[in-house]
Amino acid sequence: MKRLKTLLWVEYRRSRVWAAALLGSIVFWWWGLLQVRSLELINQLEIRAILLLIAASVGAAVLVLMIGRIRSETKDGTHQVLLMTPASGYAHVVARFGFTVSVAIAYYIGLMLMAWWAIGQAGIPLVAGDALALTLGMPLYAIATFLAPVLAWTVLLMVYISAHRVSGPNWIPGTVMVLATPLVFEKIGTGIYRILYRLPGWHVFEQLQLTLSGQYPDDSMGPALIMPQEPVWIMLLVCGVMLALAGRIWQEVEG
């Protein structure tokens, strides 16, 4: 535990400028949302939704770059120092992933708060309890089903590429992995789709209800926010497998 805590601290020190810049950018996006005031309400919501979508995409890109900075470490030798520590490869990978996901959660909760504010501004009523549940639920759902697997894949990709650095040209496995990325995610997506929609009326788990039951008397928003649980569990499992592979490669990599 002491080693994992130290590795988390190293990760915080290593990436805190990136994390601070990303979290600080929430102020910029907030400023952007405030500028959209002179339009009609429905247009305001559209533009604000687009802005928030851009913010979400930029955040995902920054987080991928933040977690993928392994190549610079192998170049300057800090990777060798980390390889020589008694902490297992799994601990190194978990520390990296854990810190980045924590930053992602903070960032996307910030965006979600702004989203609810924008919805409120457009005249769509929200019960306070629901807003809180959704503010936590929506980002966590999106992170679990999309961002976390992308981050885990990035770690695996970078560890795999750096594993070939010493004894061979690492651009070959790098190119293969990068080209394989869309294919892998397409296969996972197809698999999830098949589980969810090719078997009508059948679900492994109860559907995930992000709204609090009974809070919407007219049931106008409820159904739209009910989500299946399967993608969450499947993607968390996929994440676990990718992180386990990355940790195993880290254990065996030459430095």
Binding site: K2, R3, K5, T6, L7, W9, V10, R13, R14, D76, G77, T78, Q80, V81, L83, M84, T85, P86, A87, V166, S167, G168, P169, Q251, E252, E254, G255
Partner: protein, 226 residues
């Protein structure tokens, strides 16, 4: 025996880093690993550290796989491998949090002896960073120290401080393998010298015996590798 290489060969693609080298390193020796550039010095140390796997042959450390025992080995690589944000206090937290054998009292003594400034490594000179890295390495209570070029690119005064610290901190219960191009300055340290040429073992000599024959390590370096 702390470390043993049996017919160890390491290839990097088509290039051979080390070829059919057999060596044994018992407890309580300061061994100089000398050779020209590309002779296989760093490869030898990395094989013992478990950072590389031999292509053929065998390497054992503490009777087992170097990779499994790497936590017991101190390896100071040739790269200037410190995070730019790291101060000596951060380095203490890093080492103390990851290595059970790290001795903070010894570390503080070494920082003082080596005159390491208390600022971030990005604001230190190369010599100061080298001295900090050495303090981090020598503050561990390990038995096997692998020091790869700790004197490279460092000014004369810093080199002297580093060598003095190695002499002062060395105990008979430790073995140090040290590679350097500063043969003349470091030769007083060595009890044994391993000469490598183009990845092969060129000579393995006892430094005391050399001195008894009125020969110096650097003279033998010229004879063996010249």
């Amino acid at each position: 025996m702390l470390a043993r290489l049996s017919s160890a060969t390491k290839r990097y693609g088509k290039t051979e880093g080390l070829r059919d080298v057999s060596l044994e390193f018992p407890l309580g020796e300061v061994v100089g690993v000398l050779g020209l550039n590309g002779s296989g010095k760093s490869t030898l140390l990395k094989l013992v550290a478990g950072l590389l796997f031999p292509t053929s042959g065998q390497v054992t450390v503490f009777g087992g796989s170097p990779r499994r025992n790497r936590a017991k080995v101190v390896y100071l690589g040739e790269n200037d491998a410190l995070y730019p944000w790291m101060t000596p206090d951060d380095a203490e937290r890093f080492m103390g949090g990851l290595f059970d054998d790290f001795d903070p009292v010894r570390y503080d003594g070494l920082l003082e002896a080596l005159e390491v400034p208390r600022r971030k490594t990005k604001r230190m000179s190369k010599g100061e960073r080298g001295r900090l890295r050495l303090a981090m390495a020598l503050a561990r209570n390990a038995q096997l120290f692998l020091l790869d070029e700790p004197l490279a690119g460092i000014d004369l005064l810093s080199r002297e401080k580093i060598l003095q610290s190695i002499v002062r901190e060395w105990h008979t219960r430790e073995t140090i393998l040290l590679t350097t191009h500063e043969v003349a300055e470091a030769e007083g340290l060595f009890e044994r010298v391993v000469y490598l040429r183009e990845g092969r073992l060129a000579a393995d000599v006892n430094a005391e015996e050399l001195r008894a024959e009125n020969k110096s390590v650097i003279q033998t370096f010229r004879e063996v590798l010249g």
